[in-house]
């Protein structure tokens, strides 16, 4: 069944989109990630213009992170203060990102920049995760106890000034890296249409030493508001948010996430991470191939923006 997307201005198959949403929802439920980093490339592979894929991806991320954050609020595993500081940085980063987005779009380099950013980021994160999980799998097989990182160990980040106390996270840390991290994620959110959980979670754990139990809730909290802000600004400045597209993805995603979460419980942590790493790498490689393969049309047309 075809459906016409009002903003993307093209006809797509409604079931393909629902299935895409469900598949990404399944994976996000299984791995505990938002899924924005999968939705946006998948939409691009499905010939949705990258500018619309990114803005709509940001919109879709709100639904899954809102749903996830609600359960963390209930369980009390959400540090509102830490989330608020991350968010303040996020708003600044996102604003900068939107500006860069519009600028690159006028230059005709937006699509390239989005692809490059995805390849570099997904390649790096996927590669690191794969190495880490394979090492962990090997260690468990040889029977050795996994080496735990000592928490409380201090690094250079903890020597920065302007310290602030975050009670829920049992943390006393400078606001500079927190704001910076928020800004970086906000920037990526507006250019890539991702929530940024796949960077935020490891950064909070390894760089800021936030206790693991509050990391996901806090990250989701920040992602809701950064994505909401990104969606709003994309809607007002670029008019690239397609609600019809976003809604189909959300509907599929919310349903898929529940089954993914159940499937995830049957797999071990290292196995899950190795699978996720392979998935992330596959998306990165697919995007990289498109950059190098001779395109069927060397010439492209675009309208002239009134700006």
């Amino acid at each position: 069944m075809g459906i016409y997307l009002p903003i993307a201005e093209l006809s797509v198959n409604i079931f393909v989109l629902l299935a895409m949403g469900a598949a990404v929802g399944f994976l996000s439920g299984m791995f505990g990630v938002g899924g924005g980093f999968l939705i946006t490339p998948l939409l691009i592979f499905y010939n949705i213009p990258p500018a619309i894929a990114v803005a709509t991806g940001a919109n879709q991320v709100i639904a899954s992170s809102f749903s996830g954050a609600l359960s963390h609020v209930k369980r009390g595993t959400l540090d509102f203060k830490l989330g608020g500081v991350l968010l303040a940085g996020g708003i600044v980063g996102s604003t900068g990102g939107i500006f860069v987005f519009g600028f690159l779009r006028r230059l005709g380099q937006l699509d390239l920049f989005i692809s490059l950013l995805y390849v570099v980021l997904l390649g790096t994160v996927g590669g690191l995760m794969l190495v880490e999980s394979v090492n962990a799998l090997r260690a468990t097989r040889s029977g050795a106890a996994p080496v735990l990182k000592k928490s409380g160990q201090h690094n250079w980040i903890h020597r920065l000034p302007l310290k602030m106390r975050f009670r829920a996270s049992k943390l006393f840390v400078s606001v500079i890296p927190v704001l910076g991290l928020g800004a970086g994620i906000g920037f990526l959110s507006s250019i890539m249409g991702v929530g940024g959980g796949f960077i935020m979670v490891p950064a909070l754990i390894y760089l800021l030493k936030v206790p693991t139990n509050v990391v996901i809730g806090t990250s989701l909290f920040q992602i809701i508001f950064t994505s909401a802000y990104t969606t709003l600004v994309h809607a007002t400045t670029n008019q690239t948010v397609d609600v019809m597209l976003a809604f189909l993805l959300m509907a599929g995603g919310v349903a898929g996430a529940q089954y993914g979460a159940k499937a995830g419980q049957r797999l071990r942590g290292e196995q899950l991470r190795a699978l996720l790493a392979l998935l992330v790498l596959a998306v990165a490689i697919r995007l990289a191939i498109d950059l190098f393969v001779t395109p069927p049309n060397l010439y492209s047309l675009s309208g002239v923006d009134p700006t």
Partner: protein, 263 residues
Amino acid sequence: MAGLRAFLVVASLSLLAVASPGKAQTPVTENIQIGLSTDHVSITAGFSGADLTIFGSLENADPLVARQGRYDIIVVLEGPARPVVVRRKDRVLGIWINLESETFENVPVSYSVATTRPLQDVTDPNSYKQLSLGAANIYMQPADDGDSPATIQEFTAALRERKTATGLYSENVGGVQFLSQNLFRATVRLAPNVPVGTHKARAFLFKSGLFIKESSAQLEIRKSGFEQSIFRVAHDYSFLYGVFAVSLAMLTGWLGRLVFRKD
């Protein structure tokens, strides 16, 4: 859904009676008329392209010339003109990057032609150029005159090629048919991505390869339906639209949790 069929009917049927061929004692010049029964066509969101039929009449036609098939008609439906950027990808360090670009002012977004016979059989290239008739002869004004003619020529050719490939520029040979000596029907293609706005329908009459007369009419193409309302709201009330998109996402997330409660 594909079946949009807008019949644009002759406005000048009454003239046919006046111009009956037998009465022509002195050589009168032929005249061509097209009339549109409506000044606008609405296409819905699911529009996947259609044929648009335009009827027209040929007045004071010489029966002998008509019988020999020496009257030719070319009908053009030209979309609104807008500036366009053509970009060319080149390989940099193995990666394909948009490098060179050329901006053209006032390029018709769409250009559909219907003819009685192949264009090259109707008249000579010079006449086409003078009339700037046919996709190959539309003048495309580059925004920057400083570029070398070779570059401009390359990008103009690429622009035409892309437009043809996406179906926005099309040619329908044999799309104009005489229904009788005086009445003809032209079928022009509307691409699925036909632009909204004022389109100009023009009919050119040729007699034995010579241009005789031109007639034109205007047609407004509009989009209608639910999806179009969304598009309009997204552009006219973009902030409210953004708020709506965000609220919808939160609502969906919340409902999803209610329906599939895990904890």
